[in-house]
């Protein structure tokens, strides 16, 4: 479904702040794969997702989604294949617009936008039903401005928006990191529900090793802009945090099992 070949990306090239964020990363996701991504700070996790989403062009390498080469496609055109939820709850929704307006915008992802009504009565009904899945009481607040919602509610709404038009690929960039543990669990639960229901091919970054092990059918760990560990199937199911740490030490050639990796 997703194929990355030898992706390189360097930020601030030629300056003292030069940072090689992606160092020839290659990754192939099969249809329906739910891949969790872990790695220390600066390992290139978010950069990887942004490269796929097309936030900026990569230096070299190719990215294809479902056999379509999207390497040169701008962000808004790639959006027709991709649903996204960001780390910052403010980033995925328009605060000054209503809940139903945000959903209506998402319902038109990948479709031409003309002079037809921005939202229809039948859509409102549909959104009410869909919001019930989230179990946050949002179904009764369709016309409330999104800015009035809590971070958790906004993340859950963004998740719903990302899956409203079934994406070929779902990108979750630490989407529960900014939430309190209880809300994070709820949003993660909704994530699992939606991914299972639509059998979505998913890349989910997380700072939490337990979450990375508990969710998905495959786990990758990034280190210095590359995939350092790639575990799937039975091996992934039986994985423990200790095993994961030792795998990481082997891959990175050091035994300083990054504290940040554990604590996140």
């Amino acid at each position: 479904m997703l194929e990355l070949k030898e992706i390189y990306k360097t930020f601030n090239a030629g300056t003292i702040n030069e940072k090689r964020a992606l160092n020839g990363v290659s990754l192939t996701l099969a249809d329906g794969d739910f891949v969790t991504v872990i790695g220390g700070n600066g390992a290139g996790k978010s950069t990887l997702l942004n490269a796929v989403a097309g936030v900026w062009p990569v230096d070299s390498g190719t990215i294809s989604i479902d056999g379509i080469d999207v390497t040169r496609l701008p962000e808004h055109k790639r959006a027709q294949y991709i649903g996204r939820v960001f780390q910052d709850p403010m980033m995925g929704t328009a605060a000054t617009m209503q809940i139903e307006e945000n959903l209506a915008l998402a319902a038109r992802r990948g479709k031409p936008r003309g002079l037809k009504a921005g939202i229809t009565a039948s859509e409102r009904k549909e959104y009410r039903e869909l919001l019930k899945i989230l179990d946050l009481g949002l179904e009764d607040r369709l016309t409330a401005k999104v800015g009035l919602l809590s971070g958790g509610q906004r993340q859950a709404l963004t998740l719903l928006m990302a899956s409203l038009v079934k994406p070929k690929l779902l990108l979750l960039d630490e989407h529960t990191a900014a939430l309190d543990p209880k809300t994070a669990a709820k949003v993660l639960d909704a994530t699992e529900k939606i991914v299972q229901r639509d059998r979505l091919t998913t890349l989910m970054i997380t700072h939490n090793m337990r979450d990375a092990i508990a969710h998905g059918n495959r786990l990758i760990m990034m280190y210095e802009g590359r995939v350092a560990v790639d575990v799937s199937g039975e091996e992934k199911k039986n994985l423990t945090v200790e095993q994961l740490l030792s795998l990481f030490s082997q891959a990175s050639g050091s035994d300083e099992a990054d504290d940040k990796l554990l604590l996140g």
Binding site: A53, P74, E75, H76, K77, A79, Q80, I82, R84, F86, M90, M91, G92, T93, A94, A95, T96, M97, E101, A104, L105, A106, R108, R109, G110, K111, R113, G114, L115, K116, A117, G118, I119, M161
Partner: protein, 315 residues
Amino acid sequence: MDFLLSFLNSMPGAFGQGLAWGIMAIGVYITFRILDIADLTVDGSLATGGAVAALGITMGLNPWLALLMAVIAGMLAGLVTGLLHTACGIPAILSGILTQLALYSINLRIMAIGSGASTKATLALSVDKQPLLVSSRYIREMSLRNPLLLLAVLTVVVIAVLYWFFGTELGCSLRATGANPNMARAQGINTNTAKVLGLVVSNGLVALSGGLLAQYQGSSTVDMGRGAIVIGLAAVIIGEVLLGKVFVNFALKLLSAVIGSIIYYIVLQFVLRLGLESTDLKLLSAVVVALFLTIPYWKGKYFTKTARKEAARNA
């Protein structure tokens, strides 16, 4: 008593000017509040609207057709600013300033067309010789010729069309672009196209206002748009401060910009009668806008501080 009488006497004029500038204020609302861009093109495109409309009318065109041409000219100005900003990567404010500056030269040329001269700074219109749509001469008349009537109808039509437009898929994509460009792109919206479209619509309205103003005051001048952005912002902000809590609906929000514009001209009439010169008005406008933008900012700062203190006390 004299003061009060002459002030009341100036009210119809204030309403006329306020309404004509109100359409311009709606244009500013679109860029400043919906797209979150301070577009300085308007100082130029207002005069362009006036120049094109006046030229069309002096050349014997139907005044409605002349007004339509003015709108198209304004839209082109918005298109230039939009392309400078999106396709050339120039910051929005600078893009507007560049277009505005270029329009000064262009407006002088437009007004000279057909006159034999190469540039011309004013183009006079006369309601006796030309079929003008609005004229300040009839501002006190109780007849259909009274400009307030047509200006009010046009304002309602503009608000109705914009209300419809911003409810369409395309209009919603403009609002999303202004509210959160990251989200807009993630939902497949081309934010560059949306910004250009918003600037085109906005400057079309500003030029419409310019075309009406030229007829209303009986001339188009090259500097009629000087400081227009500040007047537009003042109108938008006055409308928000006074009516923001009551006017929640989008159409009413647009209307509040028009009402803000009328209030602005009423206040101007008042201070003019206090002995200020009309040349002092730009200073006054700048002070008003600066104050109204400062107050909410300081309020926010002050409020957070007291909230913090209170939290500390409760802890």
